[in-house]
């Protein structure tokens, strides 16, 4: 018996030893970086800047090309900081951070991207990224938007129509898009070609109860499922069965909307309206009859970075009204008091049906959609 206990103890030492050691290391790092429980109630930004100037270059992984200009603006105010940024698709950032982490590297300084469900699933269990909310921001925004990581902004995807042909969306109920008049007259980008379509339809499935209610309101009878699990999936299946055009990119969706005549619908991200303002495309977002699916971007600090103070300055800058102006408008800031940039004047309150993605179940929902999409098509 004693022998077994010894063996178990030795095993436990090898299995849990590293974990204990890890959390001890992590705690020490948090303490040194004044993060987590060690974040002071009032942050002394002069001291943070002072320390940041001694730090090695901060490595930023971001899924946005605007990061470079935003960083440059910060450096004008805070000369002496060293920041290097990379713009990569979110999926690649996650793959990269996971592989780096598992190989024992602690390179990442700031992670700035969407796909919160993958971050929950792959980054948080590793403690590869650490939550950080500048105190002054924390006081102004809902606590829910700071857990488990700080949300930087909300992005919306919704249904668009050509406003040169119609004053308002040429449908009263989203289910109308699955009917004969809209055969071959609905466009989306491929579910396998970028995050927009999978994210939007994941939101639709997560709000299946709502979809069921809308179905009954439109057809006047309970929904009948054909090999699908819920009303959301049934909606996707029926769109595909109704010869929905699946294009390769969201740019083509915008183009198709612009060229359309008669009743026509396209799903794309709200920020595409930037090009409408530029005069390149012609369409408007339906705020009344269709749901808008809202997802979000997290911003967090890479655990064990040697440049935590530079990271804090960057996070504070990017989440401020001024420093984040590249995104406010096309996306919605967490602090709703921020001014939005033209041509974007809508806030999320202006939409009738705002469906917020639930990151905890999104992965499973999306996996099923990706599996069944080719079959339903």
């Amino acid at each position: 018996m004693q022998r077994i206990t010894t063996v178990l103890a030795v095993l436990a030492f090898f299995v849990f030893g590293p974990l204990v050691a890890f959390s001890a290391d992590y705690d020490a790092w948090l303490q040194a970086a004044e993060l987590g429980p060690y974040q002071p109630a009032v942050e002394d930004w002069d001291a943070i800047y002072e320390r940041a100037q001694q730090e090695p270059p901060l490595l930023v992984y971001a899924h946005t090309s605007r990061i470079f200009d935003a960083v440059e603006e910060l450096l004008e105010d805070y000369p002496g900081l060293q920041i290097e940024a990379l713009d990569m698709p979110g999926q690649e950032i996650i793959e990269r951070v996971v592989r780096e982490w598992d190989a024992g590297r602690r390179d990442i300084g700031v992670a700035f991207m969407a796909l919160p469900w993958l971050q929950h699933e792959l980054l948080l269990p590793r403690q590869a990224v650490t939550r950080y909310v500048p105190r002054e921001l924390e006081a102004r925004i809902p606590a829910a938007d700071t857990e488990p990581l700080l949300k930087h902004r909300f992005s919306a995807s919704g249904w668009m129509y050509n406003d040169a042909n119609f004053d308002s969306a040429p449908w009263d109920n989203i289910w109308e898009l699955t009917t004969e008049p809209f055969r071959n007259r609905v466009v989306v980008s491929d579910i396998f070609g970028g995050a927009t379509t999978p994210t939007h339809f994941t939101g639709i499935v997560q709000f299946s109860d709502e979809m069921e209610r809308l179905y009954e309101a439109f057809f006047g009878e309970p929904i009948e499922l054909h090999g699908t699990a819920n009303a959301g999936e049934e909606f996707v299946r029926r769109l595909l069965q109704n010869d929905m055009r699946v294009l390769s990119s969201s740019r083509e969706v915008a183009e198709a909307l612009t060229n359309s005549t008669g009743p026509f619908a396209g799903m794309t991200v709200y920020s595409r309206l930037r090009e409408v303002a530029d005069g390149v495309y012609q369409f408007a977002v339906d705020t009344q009859n269709s749901p808008v699916v809202v997802a979000y971007h997290y911003i967090s600090i890479g655990s064990f970075t040697e440049s935590p103070n530079t990271a804090k300055l960057l996070v504070r800058h990017l989440t401020s009204e001024e420093g984040g102006h590249y995104w406010w408008g096309a996306n919605f800031p967490v602090d709703t008091s921020y001014a939005l940039e033209e041509p974007f004047t809508l806030t999320l309150d202006d939409f009738e049906k705002v469906w917020r993605i639930d990151a905890d179940t999104a992965s499973d929902v999306m996996d099923r959609l990706l599996d069944y999409w080719p079959i339903w098509r």
């Binding site: 713009d87 590297r105 055009r245 699946v246 915008a254 005069g279």
Partner: protein
Amino acid sequence: MKSLTTPGPGTLWLRRRVNSLKLLWHLPHRIMAWAFILVFAYLIVVPVIEIVIGSFQVRERDVRRIGAAIGEWTVFYWERAFASPFSQSIFYEPLRNTVVVASGYTLLSMALGVALAWLLVKTDIPFKKLISTAIIVPFILPSWSLALAWIAVFRNDQIGVGAPGFIQGVFGYAPPDWMTYGPIPIIFVLAINYAAFTYLITAASLTTVDAALEEAAELKGATGFMRFRLITLPLILPAIGSAFILTLAAGLSTFGVPAFLGSPVNYQTLSTSLYAAAGAGRFGDAYVYIIVLIVISLVAIYANARLLGSRRQFTTMTGKGAVRKIAPLGRWRWPITAVVLTLLFLGAVVPIVMLVWQSLQLRLGDYSLSNLTLAYWIGQRGDFSGILVEPRILSAAWNSIRLSVSVGILTAFVGVLVGYAITKGRGSRLARVLEQVSFLPYLIPGIAFGAIYLSMWAQPRGILPALYGTFALLVLAAFVNRLPFATRTGIAAMMQVGPALEEAAQLKGAGVVRRMRSILFPLVKGGLLAGFILSFVSTIKDLSLVVLLITPRTVVLPVITMGFAELGYRQLADAISVLIIVIVLGGTFLAQWLTKTDPLTGFGDR
């Protein structure tokens, strides 16, 4: 009692070993083959093993989907592909489509490539310089730009983006859907895209065909076509075989063209399924596709080797001086020229003009003159500076040049050496293994290769330092990934070099290095250059391989293009594509000028 002068069995054994070692030194291809196999085993086989094992292990993302712990053994991914309710749509249908498309574009592009090579090397077709340059342009262009150009010409107002294309706009005739999307356009566009492979490799080998052989046939009364079929074709068959493998595999693993031209009509191929899986982080599924693609290609390589191995090896470089003879095209000269120029105009000029024009449009899609601007080149538009005044883009351009030139040179030389080891040992198992191993990286999609290299090199391995984050790792990964281009061209070139020259040098006491430097490399300059160009071009365009390995200091152009395209700043993305084309053309000319070699003539200064 043993005589003192007679060596004992032990001594004899030793002497034999010493002798065979001496012999090995004089026949270095075996040492080289072993050395390459060892190095490649590490650089290539390790990733392949990870892929094979990975396809049988539960991945972190699929823990809930499969209901088992990470790393546990599973046949989930294989079952999903081969025997699940999803198999038809995610595997068998793409497989069928892949076979159709691959047969189509391989045949078409090889016919195009051989015809063009023959016309340029063996006939008096005019504008040779122009044509030989224009042929590689479709290969340089980003493949999506060819696909988009096709759509712009053939679309009708009922499908896709719903706008009439060029044909409908001008002639009022709406082309049927199958001309816009699906297998036919995919086959055509891929064929145009990859005709450069066959052209480059075949042209290099055609130049070395001694006209004396053809003249002999002519004296015997053979007609033009008979001479081609009986003399020229068999001589260039090894080159065609290499081109076949390269073209087939290039199309098997390409993503852009089938995605743009297939996805709107739900026409999936294994490569679109593979990228869809990898793009969604489903590496378990992706690994299964990779293995299937590897198996398909190995079968093709095997068939190819059987076909060529069973034939006699034709030596065309005998060192005795070959005569090139130009056949007059006669009354067909101008009609054929017109066809070739039209093809090249559509495949090379139109897409480039579209790219340049779009990069000059203030508002995309507005083709009026008042809409022209240089803002995306040297000005400022929205939040972004023009590409020629943005330091970040200029430094990326420099990185792209550094990377693709180093990779091009490295692969070209190693390719010839591998080609030497393989052709000298042709028929031996060693040579076959080396040939197949050096081909594997071609079939591993860049993103998976990059991911595996990230894990492999994140930490020091044995005596090897951690390369992660260094420029050297980019070079290494791209080198290994492009190796197949160079080994194929190396094999094609080496198969024509007769042993006599080298043997003569050997008799005169020339060592291996001397023989390589003074005889082999000069003889295969054309092949070297073809290998350089192929890997140089494909490296500078590549995105998926490097995206996981770059650092802020080693960012390359395609990474930036992607960011702009995603934002909808197509003009900036197009301007960068034009910049890449300029760099590639510049690099190609420079390489030709420096080596005084033209892939067309193979031996410019002889």
